[in-house]
Symmetry: C2
Subunit: 452 residues, 2 copies
Amino acid sequence: MHTREMNEELLSSLKVNQTRLMEDIHYTCQWGTGEKWGSGETETGMSRLALSDADKKARDWFVQATEALGCHTTVDSMGNIFAVRPGVRNDKPPTYVGSHLDTQPTGGRYDGILGVTAGVEMLKVLADNWVETEYPVGVVNWTNEEGARFPMSMSSSGVWAGAIPLESAHNLREVHPGTATMKSELERIGYLGSVPASHEHTPMAAHFELHIEQGPLLEIANKKIGIVKGVQAYKWLTITVTGRDTHTGTTDLKSRADALLCASKMILHSHRLATTNGCLASTGILNLKPGSTNTVPGSVTFSLDIRAQKDSTVSRMLHHITTDFPLIASGTDVLGSNANCTPGLPCSVSITEDFSSPATLFHPECISAVTSAASSALAELPNSKNLVMEMTSGAGHDSVYTSKRCPTSMIFVPCREGVSHNPEEYCKPEDCALGAQVLLQSVLRFDRRRDE
Amino acid sequence: MHTREMNEELLSSLKVNQTRLMEDIHYTCQWGTGEKWGSGETETGMSRLALSDADKKARDWFVQATEALGCHTTVDSMGNIFAVRPGVRNDKPPTYVGSHLDTQPTGGRYDGILGVTAGVEMLKVLADNWVETEYPVGVVNWTNEEGARFPMSMSSSGVWAGAIPLESAHNLREVHPGTATMKSELERIGYLGSVPASHEHTPMAAHFELHIEQGPLLEIANKKIGIVKGVQAYKWLTITVTGRDTHTGTTDLKSRADALLCASKMILHSHRLATTNGCLASTGILNLKPGSTNTVPGSVTFSLDIRAQKDSTVSRMLHHITTDFPLIASGTDVLGSNANCTPGLPCSVSITEDFSSPATLFHPECISAVTSAASSALAELPNSKNLVMEMTSGAGHDSVYTSKRCPTSMIFVPCREGVSHNPEEYCKPEDCALGAQVLLQSVLRFDRRRDE
Ligand SMILES: NC(=O)NCCC(=O)O
Ligand SMILES: NC(=O)NCCC(=O)O
């Protein structure tokens, strides 16, 4: 049946299969199973770092599942996998659903995975009902969205969008001691595709992404669907503090250039700056050298992730950090950082900006498709009018980069206590299915409206 | 010639060979050569972790060099190597010279190495001059003095002294991700000896140790020889802070249990406590989990090394730490630790004491042997009376443990700017030789006086 010929009622009657969706989610979680946190079979986290052996297996599943549903798949030079289901007309780019199959080292079963499996579920619903869309529809699995293994989030949608040079992304080195680069790992697992990673080579009519919220707002407000209007701004910095290796037992406090003490003051200071400026600052990685109980560390490197609703707030934070950290390193008191401290010898500090994602606004047409899809999907629930909420994403998503090249928006569903990047991340099956239903309906609605 | 028959003048005429000593030092530094810091051939640091392949080669050299000089060598169950040169009478234990051949990961060419090579030089002087000592003399290379790889300093002299159980030492696990234990590494490099590691099995009449000061006091005071009367007290703790892994972009500051922010406050607080209590507190190792830029760390483990002249000060520090750290973890303000901070969720903390070395006093007879040896060795220098200084060691040494079982003392020589546990650690050749001369003369004097 051609979507053109389906009225609103018929369209809304196309329904995702909750059981099948949940089976796909948990089936794919056999690759990279993480920490067990409960007694149930699915009560484990995930640890499927980008381009690991486990990620390769999840990718193989994705290719096989989408091809079995009549899709043509291509892999680009960043390992992004595009699965396309033909439409009645194929002279214009597909409408895509996308997300990612990689996870944090101690991640959960929903972040990214829900979005990709919901895309596969969409293909199944279309196939089951012999639906023909006007234009092709696609599902894309983006590579290394997390930025957990190769320290740049959304790196491969960034290359696709022309915002990150291919070479920079290929040369990203894994964060934990190891010599692998994104390129070497793409080659190793057989996902270094021959197609250029580019919106020009693989254009999209639109990009829709379903994701767990990863924060607590929907749950607190008792809402079922978040209509995501944009994503907050963020920057990732690497800070290196250099002092001097010395003996912990023979070097008095004033003769030390203690890089870790300095770094501790900076981490605390970044938290205080975030408090004052009403934004976020976080350190997730810290490595020191030489790493011996009785040697004062001469070198510390740490990450700093700064986020705010407004670009100007992120810029102000960056300004404070680049001003204050060298002062802290030199031994100057900044906001009481030296109270009751013995002044030591100066350290030096270098600050590099590795990644910047300005505040993003999604596209009105996609937001509108999601809004009407949500009201159709929620119609049968009591109090249905009060179950949606417009919101801004705290986390980055590949939709940030697709939005630079095609109309884009996102759908959020609540997750327990807002906890994510944690093995205990959890989204109720009915919420997963509801989100997938909104996703399916958004794509169909967008497809129908394309020629208007 | 029998030492009994040598008068003071003849005894003092026995002289170490500076060139030969320096050749031995630098020759052995071919195993585990570290970071290059200057253009000269010997201007590199050392990285010879205990029981590494490089340490095995240095040990093989020690066994071969001492056996070639007429010693009998034995290896005990901690890999301590004892080389004994017979005396005229062999019915009493030898007088030993000892130190260690292992180094810090970014250590220098003198810490430990000087003491062992000076022992070998002593054997060469005795051999060259056909000297017969009254009782046997020995040189011992102690295993893992640094505690840098297996996190317990002086671990093997500690077992020898009966202060550390053999099993605890054998089961020590290397600090950097790896599965090796002391026992497995002793086996692997072929130094798990069959002789029990015990002062009962391998008794000593006395233990003398030559070492670089590792601090700046001799250099600042323009002294050549430090007569070490004791060693300050220290304890090593492991602190584990547990919070919750969460997303850096979606978790507001008040919903975080940020283990690294907590640990940073604790590290800063320990420094403030050390300042207030006039002692030292240092963190040399810090590991966090999961280690991803966009995950707030849920777990941080760090080392804390506390030192003070008095046991009571170390106890007071321990009391403050065990009182204050749980308060900091729970979010209570301790000495302004929370100023301008957003209160977050509580973390928990556990503190374990891994190692404790109370303040040590050396033996008057050994100190007196060193004092007269120093005045003999310095006699020819201008202003010779003003070149010695009595002092307490800031660093731990195997002499701490030998002193629990036999008369012990130490000799210090100045090192450049007091810098140690650093590749640029440096001791002038003439100071190395002067120290070795005092060591040789101390042993001979002690040997002669034993029956008095
Ligand atoms: N969704 C998600 O966790 N993305 C990772 C990128 C980020 O750090 O926000
Ligand atoms: N000499 C020396 O550096 N020993 C290591 C034991 C200590 O930490 O003091």
